[in-house]
């Protein structure tokens, strides 16, 4: 463990920016491979809602101008890249003329709150349970109960959500049925709002936790089995160290490293949210935003959300790369 070499840091930062640039370019190109014209879609949406559309040529031309798709591709691309640098992804075509950045800023806090909380809970619970499944000093009850509890992991989150909603919200009425917070509080930094958010977030978070902790538990179990037979564990046992000390300092600490990498990758992906959970609980996060954008072929929003996902994933991996030596002293940064 020690200072991060400058060359290594520069190398990683250049890689980070290249990754983001290439990914951003790909997500700009993909929608344009589609034969569908977003202005035609917007016009079609008008027709679907109310029949004939007068002045359709004029509307179409105006929509194309507003969406910026009447310009040459190279101009569109350069504008997109310039905008992406300052998180300006243009205007939503489905919620025109709302800026995409506004939609993302409105949705992101809810997903971050719900999903990161769920991820952290599942990460800790799953890894702890995975370790306990292998540890030979775990009580028998724990060894039996954990695999039984993992039955829940085979349930899709939408079903667990509906089940929890029916039991705890509809029948017992302990928790609210939908929404991210009560309709009777104003969003803001105050206890009433925070309390309402926690109250509303409990069931969605639980519905995610109970179906995802198995992923971490099974992964950890496999890693623990490998670590269990390592020489340093045998040596620690021979030295007469306390079993619980060996579990935490020797086994879990070594087995957890691949799980941390997986955690970093999940941080990026979880920005996309649990679409169906967000939908049934009317939780207006990034998953629902992306889901609606795909349904409406709202390309600017799809690009904006994808960009944020890429950014989060790339930055998470970048940070984990830098943090590894601090977690495992055997790992050293090497200059390029």
């Amino acid at each position: 463990m020690g200072r991060i070499p400058r060359d290594y840091l520069i190398n990683r930062i250049v890689t980070l920016f290249l990754t983001i640039l290439i990914a951003a370019t790909i997500i700009w190109i993909i929608p344009r491979l589609s034969p569908v014209d977003p202005a035609e879609i917007a016009l079609g949406r008008m027709a679907a809602g109310a029949g004939a559309v007068a002045n359709s040529e004029e509307i179409l031309a105006q929509l194309r101008a507003n969406m910026g798709i009447d310009q040459p591709l190279i101009v569109q691309y350069l504008k997109y890249l310039g905008g992406a640098l300052v998180f300006d992804f243009g205007l939503s075509t489905a919620a025109f003329p709302t800026p995409v950045s506004t939609l993302i800023l409105n949705a992101l806090p809810w997903t971050l709150g719900l999903m990161i909380l769920s991820l952290i809970i599942t990460f800790f619970i799953g890894n702890l349970l995975g370790a306990l499944m292998v540890w030979d000093r775990s009580p028998k009850l724990v060894r039996v109960a954990i695999p039984a509890a993992m039955v829940f992991t085979s349930i899709p989150p939408i079903l667990s959500g509906l089940l929890l909603m029916w039991i705890f919200a509809a029948k017992l009425q302990w928790f609210p049925l939908t929404g991210a917070y009560s309709i009777f509080v104003e969003p803001g930094w105050n206890w009433a709002f925070v309390q309402s958010v926690l109250h509303h977030g409990f069931l969605p978070a639980l519905s995610i936790v109970i179906v995802t902790f198995g992923f971490w538990a099974l992964g950890m179990r496999g890693l623990m089995i490998t670590v269990q037979g390592e020489d340093y564990v045998k040596l620690a046992e021979a030295k007469g160290l306390r079993p619980r000390y060996i579990l935490y300092r020797y086994m879990i600490r070594n087995a957890i490293l691949p799980q941390i990498t997986a955690f970093a990758l999940k941080v990026g992906l979880l920005i996309a949210g649990q679409v169906l959970v967000e939908r049934i609980f009317a939780y207006n996060g990034m998953g629902k935003l992306l889901y609606d954008a795909i349904l409406n072929q709202d390309f600017p929003v799809i690009q904006g959300v994808s960009y944020v996902i890429i950014l989060m994933t790339a930055i998470s991996v970048f940070l984990v790369d830098l943090l590894y030596p601090f977690i495992d002293p055997r790992i050293r940064h090497e200059a390029a």
Binding site: D37, I41, A50, A54, A95, L103, A107, G179, P187, R279
Partner: protein, 576 residues
């Protein structure tokens, strides 16, 4: 956005400084009516309805912005609201709308002709305003002029007897909404957020967030002061995003919702089993109310063998509408008798068509259908008809966005298959369907509702199939009209009658007869095949509120996301 971080920080500081209070004035549940919102309020801080996007149906045009008139679907009358009457000249190129006296904006300013002239001119002079209503007005109006504080004159570009109902009468969903000149003047109409918004309606905005908008009653509403109407009973109106059918069912069962968006019959029965206070438009089957856009099978009349009218008629005979009703819609709708939505206001025209012998049977006449096919030289060879070595087949494009659509097409495919036509469903994503398939004629047959429009007079639907809108396949049909590319002598004869109907004033006694005369061409050529009425099964909760619109308590239709919802709210009575 130029500096998102700055904005985020500013928002956080603003929340810290001003936000975070519980709503200042709590209103008891029994004084609150909660409507279902089927979408997220994407930008809760923007109330500029003139840009396309959703900035009205979260309660803004149901509680705050009032229309000039409201079309009654039962009688066909235009019920006066902010306006009291209108007159038109003989050739329907000039209209004068008379406004109600004493109308006020919620900030106390008078609502008058200046506001109407100002808002109409906004639409006429700003092409970047691309909402459907603004664009329609731009296409129709040459100029607008204030005659007095309560009188406005419109000069149209071309005769249009339907001008007032089309633009100011809440014909379908919304109407051209008048904005306060004293607030909008000097603003860029394409970008102005209009926040905080005001209106003339009996409710003002309390707050809006992405999942709900709360509107509180303005006890100083002009309508109560002038004697136009009493104050509505609900003290608060909430539009709440429910999160989908499963959630809205739970909310309805738990009395946390008073009116819900469309549900399936299974969900409705489950709700009723838990909450017997929940009702629908009808007491029993079909439960649902009819939406204005009746469903139909569109046919591209340029593609062989469906360019042959007898082949199209054959398909019309083979389709069993009652089976579509029972299987695809589970009994929640009814078979269409004509191309029209079956409202009371349309009865004269529907009856004229049926009396002339052009009404459709709900049952199939497969024998008549196959006789027409065989008459065209097709021979049954195994399961399918063939001719010159070619199998009789058809691809039917269907929007995959709803099971309503795909289930209907599955039933039709099955019926055609049994009759010897190798029919296939081609599910297409929503955007592709409306953006690429329908307008460009890129289909043989498709399931849609392109006759949508007629709710009080026939032209709005029938006028969509004239030869003036025929373009080659691959070019976009103007305004989504005549995507069937129906042309030829019968279409021309039909179009001539349509031109006659188009120029006649609403209510002209000759119109029903002309409709029947024109319909003979549709019946003979079948450029599309009417199927069933569009069903909307809307659960309404009588635990806290009664007076909901139903078939037995008719004052208008129940679509509470439309601009006419002012009528619904005024009719609600608190359960004591």
């Amino acid at each position: 956005m130029k500096a998102p971080v700055l904005r985020l920080t500013a928002s956080a500081l603003a929340f810290a400084a001003f936000g975070g209070m519980a709503l200042a004035q709590d209103v008891a549940r029994e004084n609150t009516v909660i409507f279902d919102l089927d979408r997220t309020i994407q930008d809760p801080e923007n109330f500029n309805w003139m840009t396309p996007g959703t900035k009205r149906m979260h309660g803004a045009h149901q509680t705050m912005w009032e229309p000039l008139f409201i079309l009654n679907y039962g009688t066909g009358d235009l019920d006066p609201w902010l306006a009291t009457s209108f007159t038109g000249n003989a050739d329907s190129t000039q209209f004068t709308i008379n406004l109600r006296e004493g109308v006020e904006w919620s900030d106390g300013e008078a609502f008058d002709a200046d506001d109407v002239v100002f808002t109409v001119n906004l639409a006429l002079t700003n092409e970047e305003i691309s909402s459907r209503e603004a664009s329609t007005l731009r296409a129709q109006v040459e100029s607008v002029e204030k005659l007095s504080n309560t009188s406005v004159a419109f000069q149209l570009k071309a005769p249009n007897p339907r001008f007032v109902v089309e633009n100011f009468g809440v014909r379908i969903f919304g109407s051209f909404l008048i904005m306060p000149e004293h607030i909008w003047n000097g603003e860029n109409a394409a970008t102005f957020a209009f926040n905080p918004p005001i209106g003339t309606g009996p409710y003002t905005l309390n707050s809006a967030a992405s999942n709900r908008a709360i509107w509180d009653r303005n006890d100083d509403w002009w309508g109560a002061k002038t004697g136009f109407m009493d104050l509505p009973a609900p003290e608060r109106v909430i539009f709440l995003e429910s999160g989908g059918e499963e959630s809205r069912a739970q909310l309805m069962a738990a009395n946390q919702l008073d009116a819900a968006q469309n549900v399936t019959i299974g969900t409705f029965e489950a709700i009723q089993a838990q909450n017997p206070n929940v009702i629908a438009w009808h007491d029993g089957y079909p439960y649902a109310a009819s939406d204005p856009c009746a469903r139909q099978l569109e046919i591209n009349t340029t593609v062989a063998p469906w360019d042959n009218a007898n082949m199209r008629k054959a398909v019309a005979h083979i389709i069993d509408r009652s089976m579509i009703v029972n299987v695809a819609y589970e009994g929640t709708t009814e078979a269409s008798q004509t191309m029209f939505a079956q409202y009371g206001s349309m009865d004269p025209f529907i009856n004229a068509i049926i009396d002339a012998g052009y009404g459709l049977s709900p049952r199939a006449d497969v024998d008549a259908g196959v006789a027409l096919i065989e008459g065209e030289g097709w021979v049954k060879d195994g399961d399918y008809y063939t001719k010159d070595g070619e199998t009789l087949s058809v691809n039917i494009h269907v929007n995959s966005a709803s099971t309503e659509y795909t289930r209907t097409i599955d039933v039709i495919v099955e019926q055609l298959q049994r009759a010897g036509i190798d029919a296939r469903a081609v599910p297409v994503e929503n955007g592709v369907f409306w953006g690429e398939v329908l307008p460009f004629g890129a289909y043989e047959m498709s399931y849609s509702w392109l006759s949508c429009g007629a709710v009080n007079e026939p032209w709005a639907s029938m006028g969509r199939y004239t030869v003036t809108d025929v373009v080659p396949v691959g070019e976009r049909s103007p305004g989504f009209n005549n995507t069937a590319r129906w042309d030829g002598p019968a279409a021309e004869a039909y179009s001539a009658i349509m031109a006659d109907i188009a120029s006649r004033p609403l209510g002209d006694e000759a119109i029903p007869g002309l409709v029947a005369e024109a319909y003979q061409h549709l019946d003979a050529e079948m450029p599309f095949i009417p199927l069933v009425q569009a069903a909307k099964l809307l659960p309404m909760n009588t635990t806290y509120w009664t007076g909901w619109p139903t078939a037995d308590n008719y004052y208008n239709h129940p679509f509470f996301w439309w601009n006419h919802t002012h009528q619904i709210i005024h009719n609600l009575e608190k359960v004591e």
